[in-house]
Amino acid sequence: MSQIALDEFHWILDVLQSIDVGLVVVDRQFNIQLWNGFMENHSGIGFSKLQGQGLFHRFPALPESWLRRKVETVLALNSPTFTSWEQRPRLFNFISSKPFTGRSELMYQNITILPLTSRNGTTDHACIILYDVTDAAMGKLGLQEANQQLKVLSVTDRLTGLFNRGHWEECLRQEFNRCQRHAHSSTLMMFDIDFFKKINDGYGHLAGDAVLRRVSKTLMQVLRSTDVAGRYGGEEFGILLLDVDEPGAMYVAERLRIAMAEQIVEFDQHHICFSISVGIARLEPQHATASDWIAAADAALYHAKRNGRNCCVLASRLPGLLSEAKPLPAQVDHA
């Protein structure tokens, strides 16, 4: 070799040795023929200790049958193959190159396997190229996680963990449409916390928040997984009971009312008790829109309030128009 060619050869070796990419060359018998600096440093084993040795013998944790199949295909077809971290997170179990600030303990790797042709034209070696893609993988996984969280946040009420009003109304609309198509019926329950303003005024808004959280927790315990609960307003909640008739809904509502009345919220050395009033409306043919359905349940709730609170009222049992209901004695201010 000429001096220039030797120099070039030296540089190329230097590049292969120090490049921040793993390079492994194996022959058809999977004996290691090249193991660059990246592989030495990440595996902790120098090339001199591996040269000519069986890859699977020295690295028994490797997915042998998978890698054999890949390399044999590459050599047979004389064409490269690629594997992304998304299919297989890694080939070698190396630790992450950022062992402190990295999000992953182990390195994510993209793998390319190339056929190598010798001077006599036969393809009898394969080069396994290993790219450290931990940062990219963590970025993508982080983005997916963030999107998932955003999705949860966009439908959830922060304080109670129930669906927020927008999402709950959307569920109600879908159920309304489904019932219209399939001619069956579900029941809607609206309830609110009695004298909630007094709790807020008497113990402060943080106490009010604690009560709201307790209501949502109790709600989750009483409801079935198919029921759809949302926070409709400040202290008003809506529950969609799928494929439940009025007697069934009344049964659930009573259980819920009793469960709430039994709660004691301890807050700042106070013991706070509360009750709820419930209005129940089955979807009826005269409900032209989902809003009509809500209005019916709201009317029943209004009636429950006027009936002295801590009770459940069915919309179908309302005595006709609300104006016909017995009015509560008006509070007269004799100032």
Binding site: E40, N41, K98, F100
Partner: protein, 329 residues
């Protein structure tokens, strides 16, 4: 011709290294001083004619010792031995009356040449002669590592000094073994500040692994560009911070690897400032410790500073200890 010699260095590792490198029979008396104050006390008591002086020490540094020697007209020859290899540091110490400067890590043959040149030695000693080992307590590996890091830190600072054409004040690095929880709490607190950016470069090889973290003030990017003689940056100026951080961490890691006789792969440096409490592992009293090295470079003339945190994983401590114990022997 035997001399009374004082070796002044805060690192016991460095003092022993120098004592071993002295030609046999060179020192009639050999005194060790841990800081500038002790060295001056020995000089005032006329206990030394030749002083080997480190620059970066707590409790009177090398510059202050040189100033005091001149002011009090103390009689002695001073050879400065330092990891601070910035040209300005050398100019300063020569200006303060030092006889010569020797860079760390020091080699015995260089020391002998120097002594010969200044007539302190009549002929070069036969270096194949086994020098009697210096008796003394065993030096812990952290103490040895501290000295290696001092030297690597000096080399990295020299590169930065050349790049920015400034003088950099070298600190004394703080080494500590602590839990991953503690380290990550500190790193997360580094990320709290909006005005700072954190750049991380990972390293691995020879069974060592870890990260070098560098914290720079985003608002300094313009200042750094001007020092480098470049125009105002396009974009947010982060490129120049990344360039400086990568240069520093690479130089530091290379300097350390070279002294240890290790080869290390460096990963691509990246911004690591999205860390928060979620990435702090839970405190675990039984967890193995990690090693953290912390120091701050300052450029007094520009009111610039730059924090470095060099972290070694739990699994790195044994290989590091084994290697350093070989170096001390």
């Amino acid at each position: 011709m035997a001399h009374s010699v004082i070796i002044c260095d805060d690192s016991r590792f460095a003092r022993n290294q120098l004592a071993r490198a002295l030609p046999a029979g060179f020192a009639r008396d050999l005194h060790h001083a841990e800081n500038g104050r002790e060295a001056l006390a020995l000089l005032r008591a006329r206990r030394g004619e030749l002083l080997f002086l480190d620059l970066n020490m707590p409790d009177l540094d090398g510059y202050q010792v040189l100033e005091t020697i001149r002011r009090e007209d103390l009689h002695c020859l001073v050879i400065v031995v330092s990891g601070d290899i910035q040209p300005q540091a050398q100019q300063r110490i020569m200006g303060l009356g030092a006889l010569a400067f020797m860079r760390k890590p020091m080699e015995a043959s260089q020391l002998h040449q120097l002594l010969l040149r200044y007539g302190l030695l009549s002929e070069l000693p036969n270096t194949t002669d086994p020098h009697p080992a210096v008796a003394g307590p065993q030096i812990g590996y952290l103490e040895s590592l501290q000295e290696l890091i001092n030297v690597a830190m000096g080399q990295a600072a020299n590169q930065m000094a050349n790049l920015l054409n400034v003088f950099i004040h070298l600190p004394i690095p703080a080494l500590r073994l602590c839990s991953r929880h503690q380290v990550m709490t500190e790193v997360a607190s580094w990320c709290q500040s909006e005005s700072h950016c954190l750049i991380s470069q990972g390293f691995i090889g020879s069974n060592l692994a870890g990260e070098c973290l560098i914290r720079l003030d985003r608002n300094d990017s313009g200042k750094i560009l001007r020092l480098m003689g470049q125009e105002e940056a396009e974009g947010d100026g982060h490129e120049v911070l990344m360039e400086l951080a990568a240069m520093l961490s690479s130089a530091l890691l290379l300097g350390l690897a070279e002294q240890l006789g290790f080869r290390l792969s460096h990963s691509h440096p990246t911004m690591a400032d999205t860390l928060d409490e979620r990435h702090i592992p839970l405190a675990d009293d039984h967890a193995q410790p990690v090693l953290s090295v912390n120091f701050t470079y300052t450029i007094p003339s520009q009111q610039l500073s730059c924090d470095l945190l060099l972290l070694f994983t739990e699994a790195s401590l044994r290989p590091l200890e084994r290697r350093l114990s070989l170096l001390v022997e």
